[in-house]
């Protein structure tokens, strides 16, 4: 008896009981749709994050003041208070490392911004003109921060879209004066609506020259130093060079380097684990579906008791009967798997049409896994019914007992 014949016999029986076969498929279909959709969402999130990083265009290394203790250096305090990360460091690294196109200092703070009778608590980002290019900011009106020496902090400010609307309404903000933490600043630009990017609510943020913000916040250290690298620069090598130069300059390694690659890698791995976890939970529903298949197969075996007896009388061996029923349940579950993949893909396509921003897509591994799982479900849960069929006593079976 060859494989095609097994499929023929098993398939015949399924087609005969079309309605019952279809019903038993529903469970598998639901499980597979769940896996397909959930992994598509996970993969979509991953691609979304990747795209966001890619949208920055350039390759960035970030330096933060203070030693990251997780790497196991000396505890803070033993080596003294870390040195400030200064604008001088920024200029120094930009000059000394050729792979660094621009060093963009960032001083983050927050404060109350006022105009007329209105006020609002906002994050304040102190930076330079280069920040606009690096973050690909778009202006609705005016210009971003002026070019020139970052040490010379002028009293100008750029408002995020929401901030401008709340303080000025539809009126023109450009050229107006706002007060922020006691200082008077002139609005030189308003950003176009943007939404969230890498965790920063750009629409709700205001931007001012870095030294201005440091002065207002009474800060001596930068919050971050972002090194915008030449297109083909290797982040690892730049980081090594930064460590070397800055450690020498500060007499100790009192800063932390984060590469964009590393951030993305850890974000990706978190998202992958999350995706796997939800896919795993969805896969449990396949086990439930398996019980449905088992039930249907048990009914099928008891309905076809006579037929099993006949097949045995005609010369079918135990093993052949076992195979016939196992293939039958495997066919059921794999058909359910394929139908579920179809339905799931349709849902994913629909989701993509509705939320084009998130690139939903079921990853190839999930498709393979879900088909493999449904096959395993059919075979696994088909064993008991098939075993029962194979073990039937032919004489009793022929009499329908």
């Amino acid at each position: 008896m060859n494989a095609a014949d097994f499929f023929w016999i098993s398939g015949q029986a399924l087609v005969q009981n079309r309605r019952r076969s279809l019903l038993s498929l529903v469970g598998v279909v639901i499980g597979v749709v769940a896996v397909t959709c959930l992994t598509a969402i996970g993969e979509g999130a991953l691609r979304y994050v990747t795209d966001q990083f890619a949208s920055l265009g350039s390759s960035i290394v970030i330096i933060a003041p203070g030693r990251n203790e997780t790497t196991g250096g000396m505890p803070l305090g033993v080596g003294g208070i870390p040195n400030d990360l200064t604008l001088a460091d920024s200029r120094f690294l930009e000059r000394r490392i050729p792979a660094v196109r621009t060093a963009i200092p960032v001083a983050a703070s927050s404060g109350k911004i006022r105009h007329g009778g209105k006020s609002r608590q906002v994050p304040i980002i102190g930076t330079t003109a280069d920040f606009e290019r690096m973050q690909k900011l778009e202006l609705a009106a005016g210009t971003f921060l002026p070019e020139g020496d970052p040490e010379r902090g002028s009293s100008v400010i750029v408002l995020g879209h929401t901030v401008a609307r709340e303080l000025f309404g539809p009126a023109l903000a450009l050229g107006q004066t706002v007060r922020i933490s006691g200082s008077r600043m002139r609005v030189v630009g308003v950003l176009a609506e943007r939404g969230t990017q890498l965790g920063l609510q750009i629409d709700e943020t205001v931007f001012a020259p870095v030294s201005t913000v440091m002065r207002i916040a009474n800060e001596t250290s930068l919050t971050r130093l972002m090194l915008d690298l030449q297109p083909r620069a290797e982040q690892k090598r730049v980081i090594a060079r930064v460590r070397e130069l800055l450690t020498e300059r500060h007499d100790e390694e009192d800063f932390t380097c984060i590469s964009q690659d590393a951030v993305m890698a850890s974000l990706s791995s978190i998202l992958r684990i999350l995706t796997l976890a939800v896919a795993g939970i969805a896969a449990i529903s396949l086990a439930v579906a398996g019980i449905g298949i088992m039930n249907v197969m048990l009914v099928s075996v008891s309905e076809r008791t006579e037929e099993v007896g006949l097949l045995k009388a005609l010369g079918a061996s135990r093993r052949q009967i076992l195979a016939i029923f196992l293939i039958e349940s495997a066919l059921l579950s794999v058909a359910g798997g394929i139908a579920g993949l179809g339905a799931g893909s349709a849902l994913v396509a629909l989701g993509r049409a509705i939320y084009p921003a998130v690139p939903l897509a079921t990853p190839a591994w999930a498709i393979g896994a879900v088909l493999g799982l449904s096959l395993a479900t059919g075979v696994g849960f088909g064993v008991w019914p098939a075993w029962r069929a194979a073990g039937l006593d032919p004489v009793a079976a022929l009499q329908g007992r």
Binding site: D5, L314, G315
Partner: protein
């Protein structure tokens, strides 16, 4: 050749035992046509099932062509049923979703014969029982006699030397019964051993000899031509039936 020695088949029902066969000794030579008769419940089907390797005796020996089947594996027994024995049942046992041709070809499937050859052989077997034009029909589109002839085609498709028929005409009117018996007689004339369980004296009269069972024991052995009416045949001198 079939040889049974001190054959018992005992069913344990709760705390008492029911002997469907008790101490049966019999030898059937190749090419014989033997009828098995006896009142209902006398053990006819049980004997046929043991001989057909569908059932195994509780005690005693069954030698098929000199080989004791007791020690054989499930695979080996299945293979004997497949290649050496053809079964014909009172209720036909055709699979309703399969065409006549597919029903006939089923044993060929288990023998691993390719589809094209199966089809050709099934068609020839159907032709031999006069049903060439019904090959594509489903069982529910066939008369009782036609169904039984399809079942005979199926029983013979692997070319077994031994045919076992359990009341083959029990569900048929006399005309289609006669047709079926003619087919069986023809198969016997080709040299096959034929064992027929029957209630019908007309069926038994075609046999070379008749074994009469009573309560699981062989009560009489008579020649086929001696079978006249059942009352005489089943009168075992005890007076009861």
């Amino acid at each position: 050749m079939i040889r049974v020695e001190d054959l018992w088949r005992t069913y344990v029902m709760g705390d008492h035992e029911l002997h469907a066969l008790r101490a049966v000794n019999e030898e059937i030579a190749d090419g014989e046509h033997v009828a098995i008769m006896g009142p209902s419940g006398s053990g006819k089907s049980t004997l046929l099932n043991v001989i057909g390797c569908l059932d195994s005796p509780t005690r005693g020996r069954y030698l098929l062509d000199g080989e004791d089947v007791a020690g054989l594996s499930d695979e080996a027994l299945a293979d004997i049923r497949l290649r050496r024995i053809g079964f014909i049942f009172q209720s036909f046992h055709l699979i309703p979703r399969l065409s006549a041709r597919e029903n006939v070809a089923l044993p060929l499937v288990f023998a691993g014969i390719p589809a094209a050859e199966r089809r050709a052989r099934a068609d020839r077997a159907l032709e031999a029982v006069g049903l060439a034009d019904r090959a594509g029909h489903r069982p529910n589109e066939l008369s009782g006699g036609q169904k039984q002839r399809v079942a005979i085609a199926r029983a013979t498709i692997m070319g077994p030397r031994l045919l076992l028929a359990d009341e083959p005409t029990g569900n048929l009117d006399s005309r289609s019964g006669t047709q079926v018996l003619d087919v069986l007689s023809a198969l016997h004339r080709e040299g096959r051993t034929l064992l027929v369980v029957t209630h019908d004296p007309a069926v038994a009269r075609r046999a070379d000899r008749v074994i009469v069972l009573r309560d699981g024991e062989i009560a009489k052995r008579v020649a086929g031509t001696d079978v006249t009416d059942l009352n005489r045949l089943f009168d075992f001198g005890g007076g009861a039936s």
